[in-house]
């Protein structure tokens, strides 16, 4: 079963801990994405799985086989890990044709000519590039190169597919299209995939699970919706969009299934919100409210009165900045609302949020 297991994997460059003790278990056929800001160690993690970089600590197993273990100095070189990989730059070999590029993983393993032909053709068909087989590789557009890179990564039927920001060089429309195509392909082939991106939307659209990384650490691992709606920390929450954080005090707490419902007060309002952990009354918390969950006007569980100080038109939506002053303290909220249902700068509005959409974090 092609699974990938990272336990305590770390790597540092000099004093910098590029990757710091990451644990991750990827199941067979699962699509897992490493997500995080640039420089957080995603590529390094991926490269350690690929065997292009050695891990200083921890161990990596692919398909149950230990491929790299810092403690016992075990290290299986990349060519023995049976992987497919798509590089950010595609790394299409410029001196070969499309066919030769795709055939390479087979030919270096001395597969018979006829079989190579069949498999390469199949792989190119998969990415709809069969017409380009004899093209010299550099004579392709970005999207075509990306397809070739994918075909090349798949042709050997690898146990695991690794992708490092494969869509980042494409324009927005192509990015969405290629992403969807790739997701469909991955589902169809049931191929275990580790994907790297810094784009949250891409990560959420494609992945079964997302690993949010920052400064070399895996902050949270979970399904896209979980990570988005129920972030484990402010850092994770802040990585997606521009959420509003409101400091508050817990006045009551009760369990609700796996979650907890907190009653909070402070910052000019009081009401209920949700939390992952149990809190004691008097605890300080930070309540995260996503801009799109704020409604204007209607009374909800948590509400604030304020004035619109800025508005940005974004086509279907409008982003407002609302200032609410309580007890001499000004607080700014980012609010997303339908473009038609908007207030103009200077209007007095009431902001309200459903309890379900307010998520408390330890402050």
């Amino acid at each position: 079963m092609p699974t990938v297991t990272l336990s305590g994997v770390g790597r540092h460059f000099g004093a910098l801990k590029a990757v710091d003790s990451v644990d991750l278990a990827i199941k067979h056929g699962e699509f897992v994405t490493l997500l995080g800001p640039s420089g957080c160690g995603k590529t390094t993690t991926l490269r350690m799985v690929a065997g292009l970089e050695r891990n200083d600590t921890g161990s990596i197993a692919i398909g149950g086989r230990m491929v790299s273990d810092a403690a016992s100095e075990l290290f299986v070189p990349p060519d023995h890990r049976k992987l497919g990989m798509v590089f950010q730059s595609y790394a299409i070999w410029p001196h070969m044709t499309v066919f030769d590029n795709v055939a390479y993983p087979l030919s270096v393993r001395h597969v018979a000519k006829a079989e190579i032909k069949a498999k390469v053709t199949a792989a190119l068909k998969l990415v709809e590039m069969e017409a380009y087989a004899e093209r010299p590789a550099p004579a392709l557009s970005g999207g075509q190169q990306q397809r070739v890179a994918i075909a090349r990564a798949l042709v050997f039927e690898p146990e695991v597919l690794l992708l490092d920001e494969p869509l980042s060089n494409l324009d927005a429309r192509l990015r969405a299209q290629m992403g969807d195509e790739f997701r469909a392909l991955q589902r169809r082939l049931k191929i275990t995939t580790l994907y790297v991106t810094h784009d949250q939307e891409e990560a959420m659209a494609l992945s079964d699970r997302v690993v949010v990384m920052d400064k070399g650490k895996a902050l949270q691992v979970g399904a896209p919706e979980d990570v988005y709606r129920r972030p484990a920390s402010r850092a994770v929450a802040a990585f997606f969009g521009t959420p509003n954080f409101i400091e508050a005090k817990v006045t009551a707490c009760r369990a609700n299934g796996t979650d907890h419902v907190l009653t909070i007060e402070g910052a000019g309002t009081e009401g209920d919100c949700r939390a992952g952990d149990a809190y004691r009354p008097g605890d300080a918390v930070l309540v995260m409210i996503r801009p799109e969950d704020v409604t204007l006007g209607a009374a909800g569980h948590l509400s604030w009165a304020g004035t619109v100080v800025d508005g940005v038109f974004r086509g279907p939506r409008r982003t407002l900045t609302v200032e609410s002053t309580v007890g001499g303290q000004a607080r700014r909220f980012t609010v997303e609302c339908p473009a038609t249902r908007a207030a103009s700068v200077g209007d007095a509005v009431t902001l309200s949020v459903e309890s379900d959409n307010a998520w408390a974090l330890r402050s």
């Binding site: 490269r47 690929a50 065997g51 292009l52 070189p77 990349p78 060519d79 890990r81 049976k82 992987l83 497919g84 990989m85 590089f87 950010q88 730059s89 595609y90 790394a91 299409i92 070999w93 410029p94 001196h95 390479y104 993983p105 270096v108 393993r109 010299p136 590789a137 550099p138 004579a139 392709l140 557009s141 970005g142 190169q145 090349r152 990564a153 050997f156 690794l162 060089n169």
Partner: protein
Amino acid sequence: MLVLAFLTVYPMAMLLYGSLHSTPPGMAGEYNFDGYASLATAENLQALINTAALSLVKTVLSLALAILLAWIVARTDTPGRGVLEILITLPFFIPPILTATAWAMLGNAQVGTINLAWRWLTGTDGTLVDVYSYGGIVWHMMQYSTPFIFLFVVDAFRAMDPSLEESSRMSGATRWQTFWRITFGLMLPVTTSAFILSFIRGMESFESAVFFGTPVGIKVLTTQIFDMITQRAQPDYQGATAMGFATMALMFLLLVLQSRLLRGRSFTTVTGKAYAPSVTRLGGLRWVTFSICVLFFALAVALPVGQLILSSFFQFFGFYQLDMLTFEHYRSVWENREFWTAFGNTLLLGFLGATATMILGGIVAYITTRTAWHGRRLIDILAWLPWMMPGMVLGIGFLWGFATLPHEIPIYGTLWALLLAYVALGTPVAVRVTSGAYAQIARDIEECSRVHGANWWQTMGRILVALAWPAFAVGWVLIFFGIMRELSASILLYVPDTTVLSVVMLKLWNSGKPETVSVIGLVMLAMVLLFRWVQLRFIKRRISTL
């Protein structure tokens, strides 16, 4: 690594011993610094200044000229650039003594053809050029360094991703700014390497200085060393080796400077993204660039080579009378048994040596440019060593080194001795050429191959070498002809069975047969033409598929 150490450190250690010991290896003596102390004379200082100035001037001029020519040939639509590319590299492959002779006939102050023509044209009895001067030395050296640098940089120009230049033009830079800031800037590793190689070679150049400088009292370091070894009743090996090391120390500073300059920058121009080498359309200007190439060709190639071809059919160099027309020189080469033995040996050594050197150089360059291994700086320096030590001193190092090996190791007195010396001598060029090429290849292009199941050797062969192969081919040719020309070490290591072409040429020269030497020179030229032609055909084929 071991091989490299044996090839470079071992002979160097022998030389170091020689420089610190009152007598050469194998004789009783004592350790002292007399060798170094004896260097501090006004004459040597003058020689040092001369050497550095000559070399700097010729290197700067050659570099400028070579880059211009490389750009013209690789990146513009100048007519006939394919042929020009082969032709302008020819001077490099002519034995220097022959071009020196040819130039001496053309440019001597008394009856040089150029001056005679000038006097006839102007009706004065003035002298236009005198090759026995600083200018003559520089010009003669330039004929070698320009093609050398050209060969070094031309493929780098060709491999450049044009989008890098295009983005500069789009940012509002003029063509010249783009060339200077982007094209030239990206080629820094190659150009600085070529510059340093060429500068060092200039510091060690012997033929030009001895031929054109000695008659007018211009002394350089190598003539001083030559003096110490051959022109004294008791050869002063201690002084000569000490001077070798002193020179080496100076050149070392250059390397430090280069690595400062290049540190922490990336010069990747071959990426996995699409690009098609583009040529600049010059319009009417292309006839100007064409003229530049033709002019260089006429001056540096046609004149001396023409002289050689002409004189190979006459009884005497420079006496072109009909009754002196002869095929005698061709016949004497054809019938010279020793020539054929030497030719066979040299070809064998050339093929094996150039191939082995490129393999070694390719690996060393890989280690120094592509790995994070701790010893990589050390190997990098090791690979430079043979280049920094003047040839005639290094030759002695090889003699001392190989002769004093235990007799069970059959190197001394066999072809192995020559082969190993040639590999050591060629390694710096091989390493520079290949590391320049590697530096242009993006790392993920190589990693991608590893991940997809190719082992290190497969990756090396099918990706790196396959991409860098024009550089490999150029390096191979440079080294091959370096071997054909090498004399300093050869003459100290050959035995009658293993005689080589350079030794035969020396013999012919010393026995007063420069015409026969020209014939051999022409044979070598014909080989260059063949090699380069084959090579460029391959390059062209690749480019045309892009």
